[in-house]
């Protein structure tokens, strides 16, 4: 009797705990290894003239947002981003939108529609996106004054999160984990 019980425990407990461990994890979660690391540098052409090099923004907090015009949550967050930009532009924070996997005219129409005034660049080859490990858009990275990624967010952002995370970056606080929006879009 005791032998059977011990045998059962020896076989069943590891098996069940493995199962339990598997079920408590989100299989869709892709933790980014980039948080608290140096932000990969890039130089990309702007939609208006000129180009932006990330290096040249050192000393400012950079709010880096990857987006596309076809992405529904990008539309959802666009007004909040523009409002946040207007509030932070004089406080040593720069917003940069990176347009990926998009058509030039569609992207420009999007910028016009939401009256976006912060600088936006095009990443036609997708190199910056891959450098930042982007897998679904919108994805947002917040980079502190020392060029370190303090926060990553997948999915649409709301005003509360934007404010909280920029304030943290201004103080050089790194988030423990990335955030998720209510929904993300992938193509």
């Amino acid at each position: 009797m005791w032998r059977r019980l011990v045998l059962f425990v020896v076989v069943a407990v590891p098996f069940l705990s493995l199962l339990g461990y598997g079920f408590t994890r989100d299989a869709k979660e892709i933790p980014s290894p980039l948080i608290a690391r140096a932000a990969p540098p890039f130089t990309l052409p702007r939609f208006d003239d000129g180009a932006i090099a990330l290096e040249s923004q050192r000393g400012k907090v950079v709010f880096l947002n990857f987006w596309a015009s076809w992405c529904v949550p990008c539309r959802a967050e666009a007004p909040a981003l523009e409002r946040a930009w207007l509030g932070y532009r004089d406080r040593g924070v720069v917003f940069v939108g990176v347009n990926i996997q998009d058509k030039d005219e569609d992207a420009r129409a999007f910028l016009r529609e939401f009256r976006i005034t912060y600088p936006n660049v095009r990443d036609d080859a997708g190199k910056a996106a891959i450098d930042y490990g982007v897998w679904g858009i919108p994805e947002t990275f917040i980079i502190d004054r020392d060029g370190r990624i303090t926060y990553k967010h997948v999915g649409a952002l709301g005003r509360a999160t934007i404010t909280a995370k920029i304030e943290e970056a201004l103080r050089g606080v790194v988030s423990a984990s990335e955030g998720r929006g209510e929904y993300g879009a992938t193509r």
Partner: protein, 553 residues
């Protein structure tokens, strides 16, 4: 001639060289890409995915190989960006080892368990047959087998208990063996071996029969004394039938089968759209999944999208409604109804310009389309405050054949627009009343929110106005939110403002307006303005409701 040959050589070298030098590189790119997971696909490698992202990743792999990096270096790059997740085959280290070792360990364990049980069963059979039976018993077997008159008649055989049957069968076999021996069919060696085997088995059967009989007698005695027979002493090989248990098991299997057959076929149906769930709202309770059961799946996809879009619009799910209308437009780029419906959604979202463009496209296709004309007027009136334009659109609409109540609504709106046009640019800004379908609204409450006398002098106060309809004293049934209102504010509450899932906007409602300085929904705080309808409760369908705001203290 020499020049020609040289040119030909150069051309062939040029044509040949890229192919020769690229093929191995292509292979290496493919090889590495096949091990990388495409981030935007479901279980596809970067090599197999046609997506733009995968193309770009292949280009990065190629570029890094061309720069002289090794496979490990390229993989390390992707690992540093995406983490372990990017590799299709998990790395053989740490917790991942469970993945690599687990299946083999499981298979080995399974084999061990199977071997253990096979040995145990085999052991039990062997234990039943003791090596050398008692000679006295063998003698008894021989004499009994010889004494038996002959084969047992089948009907008698069938009525015997299993152990008796085994004994009778073995005696019969022994007699046949002796007969075969006499007929010369068996060598004496074979005969001896087989006879010894049969006799041993018959002896065991005899023992079993007697042991069974002894147990039965003991059981009878015990029953006679009123004791229950102890479990576990049932005669071996004579398992007692358990009719109740068998019937229960059979009933369960039958019920389970019927349940699966009936339940599943009713619960599961093909997905009607990507937003739909396979079980509909039957199991998941997610509410109507965007498809109404009355629609057939074989029906016209365009019609279905229109219908679903309107249904989604009616219950206030504008995102899904827009998705459906866009799908219609993908099939028919200037479908007037879809375009004007989309325009209405865009106008609600504050995209006046896009709304205007959409409805103009609809009218370019169908200048007399009533709904497009109605929406055109609404967009001009509300979003663009172009009252002259709205008047033109609605006048054109009135020339169309309309239902009497629709015509009345249009006439009312037309009168309102004319009044606003006359009162000039200083007229108060209109609110955002967006009647759902054409008009004729017995499903709405329409009216105005005005400032109390003491407040009017100070001009329009800042904040967000909430017009709230409750049924009795319950939670808000429908809420209209108006940002930065200019008083007096016209409002129109309808089904699209309903907050409660499945709530219907009808019957009598209690109306309350609240101007929140902080713009957040919730109870009033000091400094906010609040007022109730002059005659609460208000039946749905009422127009001209008046709510006067006063300061909350």
């Amino acid at each position: 001639m020499l020049a020609l040959v040289l040119v030909a050589l150069v051309i062939s070298a040029l044509a040949g060289s890229p192919a020769e030098s690229q093929t191995p590189l292509d292979d290496r790119v493919r090889e590495i890409a096949a091990g990388l997971r495409c981030p935007v696909c479901q279980n596809l490698s970067v090599a197999d995915s046609p997506s733009e992202m995968a193309q770009q990743m292949r280009a990065v792999v190629r570029e890094r190989l061309e720069a002289g990096q090794s496979r490990q270096e390229v993989e390390a790059y992707f690992l540093s960006k995406y983490g372990d997740w990017i590799l299709l085959a998990p790395r053989r280290r740490g917790f991942n080892l469970v993945l690599w070792i687990g299946p083999f360990a499981g298979a080995a364990l399974g084999l061990l368990v199977a071997a253990y049980f096979v040995r145990r069963w085999a052991g039990r059979r062997a234990a039943v047959r003791p090596g050398a039976p008692d000679p006295a018993l063998l003698e008894r077997v021989r004499s009994e087998a010889a004494a038996d008159a002959g084969p047992v008649p089948p009907e008698v055989f069938a009525s015997l208990p299993p152990l008796e049957r085994e004994r009778a069968r073995l005696y019969e076999a022994l007699r046949e063996l002796a007969f075969d021996r006499r007929a010369g069919k068996l060598s004496s060696e074979d005969y001896e071996a087989m006879r010894a085997d049969y006799e041993a088995r018959a002896a065991q059967a005899l023992l079993d029969v007697e042991a069974g009989q002894a147990r039965e007698r003991a059981g009878d005695r015990r029953r006679a004394r009123g004791e229950e027979p102890a479990t576990g002493t049932a005669p071996v090989g004579a398992r007692r039938p358990r009719p109740l248990r068998t019937a229960l098991a059979g009933g369960f299997v039958l019920a389970f089968g019927v349940a699966i057959g009936v339940f599943l076929t009713q619960a599961i149906r093909p997905r009607a759209s990507s937003m739909d769930s396979m079980t509909g709202d039957f199991l998941t309770g997610t509410g109507p999944g965007g498809v109404s059961p009355t629609l057939s799946f074989q029906g016209n996809a365009l019609e279905r999208d229109l219908e679903e879009g309107r249904a989604a619009f009616d219950r206030g799910d504008f995102r899904m409604a827009a998705d459906h209308f866009k799908r219609v437009l993908a099939v028919e780029a200037d479908h007037p109804l879809a375009l004007s419906s989309l325009a209405l959604i865009l106008a609600r979202g504050g995209h006046a310009e896009a709304a205007q463009q959409a409805v103009e496209r609809a009218l370019a296709r169908a200048p007399d389309h009533s709904f497009a004309l109605w929406v055109n007027g609404l967009v001009l009136y509300e979003a663009r405050r172009d009252y002259a334009g709205a008047i033109r659109a609605w006048e054109a609409l009135l020339e169309q054949p309309l239902a009497p109540e629709d015509a009345r609504t249009v006439t009312e709106m037309l009168a309102d627009a004319r009044r606003r046009l006359d009162s000039g640019a200083m007229a108060a800004a209109p609110s955002v009343p967006v009647p759902v379908r054409s008009a004729g609204d017995s499903r709405r409450v329409v009216g105005a929110v005005v400032l109390g006398d003491s407040l009017r002098a100070a001009g329009s106060p800042a904040g967000t106005l909430f017009v709230i309809a409750r049924r009795g004293g319950g939670p808000p049934l429908a809420v209209k939110r108006i940002v930065s209102p200019q008083f007096p504010v016209q409002f129109s509450l309808g089904p699209e403002d309903v907050m409660v899932q499945g709530g219907e906007f009808r019957g009598e409602v209690t109306l309350l307006a609240r101007l929140k300085r902080d713009g957040r929904a919730g109870p009033a705080s000091p400094g906010d303005l609040e007022g109730v309808a002059e005659r609460n409760p208000v039946p749905v369908g009422t127009t001209g409701v008046r709510i006067t705001l006063e300061t909350v203290r």
